[in-house]
């Protein structure tokens, strides 16, 4: 038996074209029973080896057998009163397929020619490419891309704001008392030295509000400082 390499055929139409070419058959007058027999031999072969591909071939085998049966029956007549060749659809499909198969051959030549040319930017594009065997799993990604992404992810974690609610037991009133206490020890107080050592922003804010409050209450006064970005608080004795 003629040994056929399975991958050689792209499908049942391709196989039929091969039989037609090999045996120099007239495509318009295909000997259906002979070709069906050959086709079935081949289908039995691939059924053993590759069930997935076999489906399309089995479909064609049944089409062939259907045509074979219709060939034995009296011909059907179309609207114009002409006999319908049961093979007509198959022939049309074969020729249509053959048309594109020819174009595919032309494309092969184009491909070969094109592979001999290199373009500018060829290497830079290439550098991002993974080895061919990983083509499917790694699409245009390199170890550097992964490393960069990982670095970004790690850095990103720090950037995420964490909202923790800590109760700071402090009030404006307490701050007022604190400031007045400090002013009892010293007649003048620099704002920056007052807030120095305060860890929480809220403490600084409350200190500031307390100062404003005290000024409003006319218990203290504030004046320009000799140092930059600072001011001086002084106590007012009004009673």
């Amino acid at each position: 038996m003629y040994k056929i390499k399975l991958d050689q055929f792209e499908g049942p139409l391709d196989l039929l074209l091969f039989f037609i070419k090999r045996d120099e058959l007239n495509i318009y007058d295909i000997p259906i029973s002979r070709i069906t027999k050959e086709f079935l031999e081949y289908v039995n072969l691939i059924k053993l080896m590759d069930l997935e591909v076999a489906g399309d071939f089995i479909l064609m085998a049944s089409t062939l057998m259907h045509i074979k049966v219709r060939m034995l029956l009296p011909r059907e007549i179309d609207e114009q009163g002409e006999e319908i060749d049961p093979r007509a659809d198959l022939i049309r499909a074969l020729l249509e397929y053959k048309k594109y198969k020819e174009v595919a051959e032309d494309l092969t030549f184009f491909e070969s020619h094109q592979r001999k040319l290199s373009y500018r930017g060829n290497y830079s594009e290439d550098a991002a490419q993974a080895p061919p065997e990983y083509d499917v799993l790694l699409k245009n990604i390199s170890i550097y891309d992964l490393a960069k992404a990982f670095k970004k992810a790690i850095e990103g974690i720090k950037d995420v704001p964490v909202h923790e609610i800590k109760k700071i037991n402090i009030s404006i009133e307490e701050m007022i008392i604190y400031i007045l206490d400090r002013l009892k020890q010293m007649s003048e107080l620099h704002f920056l030295s007052l807030v120095h050592g305060m860890k929480e922003k809220i403490r600084v804010v409350l200190t500031f509000i307390a100062i404003l409050e005290l000024v409003k209450m006319q218990r203290i006064g504030i004046k320009e400082s000799t140092t930059f970005n600072d001011f001086v608080i002084y106590g007012v004795n009004n009673g």
């Binding site: 399309d56 594109y100 020819e102 595919a104 290199s118 373009y119």
Partner: protein, 221 residues
């Protein structure tokens, strides 16, 4: 001194094509030149073609290793074929496997019938084409162009710019004209000859593959 237009812009056109990684279109070249020198400049596609021809003649007479080619709706510099194996050695892109026969066949159908649905494609090929469509989509040779208005609204496929580049085509009208069915039948001899050439190539490949697989089998046995 009045320079003729060819003299003035041939060098500009060369620079524009040289500086572009991607094929640069005639429109783009005209846009750039008019943008700098004013809209009143008269510059047509023909002028650009002439300039490119002039440049290519110059490269050829100087025995340069490159030339400008028309590809994917534009112009691009390419190395000449004679240096292919050296340049290809550096570039793994060129050592990539060729497209399979199934892929070429599918591409041919999509190229001519686009936009085309999967059922239409499978009807012509007579085989299930899921896998091959996915491969071609992955390689960016085809793309989904929309949905057909027919029942089930199947996806429509068409070719991409990448497809033009892969086969060195300027645009889709550069595709080889498929012969009408009647024509195919008329000159069967011509096809036979062509097929013989192709079959020889294919058979060589098959033989090589068989040798390889046989030697593999020997090892496993």
């Amino acid at each position: 001194m009045v320079l003729t237009m060819d003299n003035t812009y041939t060098s500009v056109i060369e620079a524009l094509i040289f500086s572009s990684d991607e094929p640069i279109s005639e429109m783009e070249i005209i846009r750039v030149i008019k943008g700098i020198d004013g809209e009143e400049i008269e510059l047509t596609s023909d002028d650009i073609q002439n300039s490119v021809e002039e440049l290519n003649k110059k490269y050829e007479s100087n025995n340069n290793s490159f030339k400008i080619i028309k590809i994917a709706n534009g112009y691009s510099f390419a190395t000449s074929e004679s240096n292919a194996k050296y340049v290809g050695y550096l570039s793994s892109e060129k050592t990539k496997r060729r497209l399979s026969q199934a892929a070429l066949e599918t591409l041919a159908i999509i190229a001519y019938k686009q936009p085309v649905t999967k059922p239409e494609l499978e009807q012509i090929r007579g085989v299930n084409s899921d896998y091959i469509l996915n491969t071609l989509l992955e390689k960016n040779l085809i793309t989904i162009t929309g949905r057909a208005e027919t029942i089930g609204r199947p996806l429509l496929y068409g070719t991409t710019i990448e497809f033009l580049k892969y086969f060195g085509l300027y645009n889709l009208s550069d595709l080889p004209k498929p012969r009408e069915i009647e024509e195919i039948m008329k000159d069967e001899d011509f096809i036979e000859q062509k097929n013989k050439i192709m079959m020889n190539l294919i058979e060589d490949n098959i033989e090589n593959e068989l040798k390889v697989s046989e030697s593999n089998n020997d090892e496993t046995e």
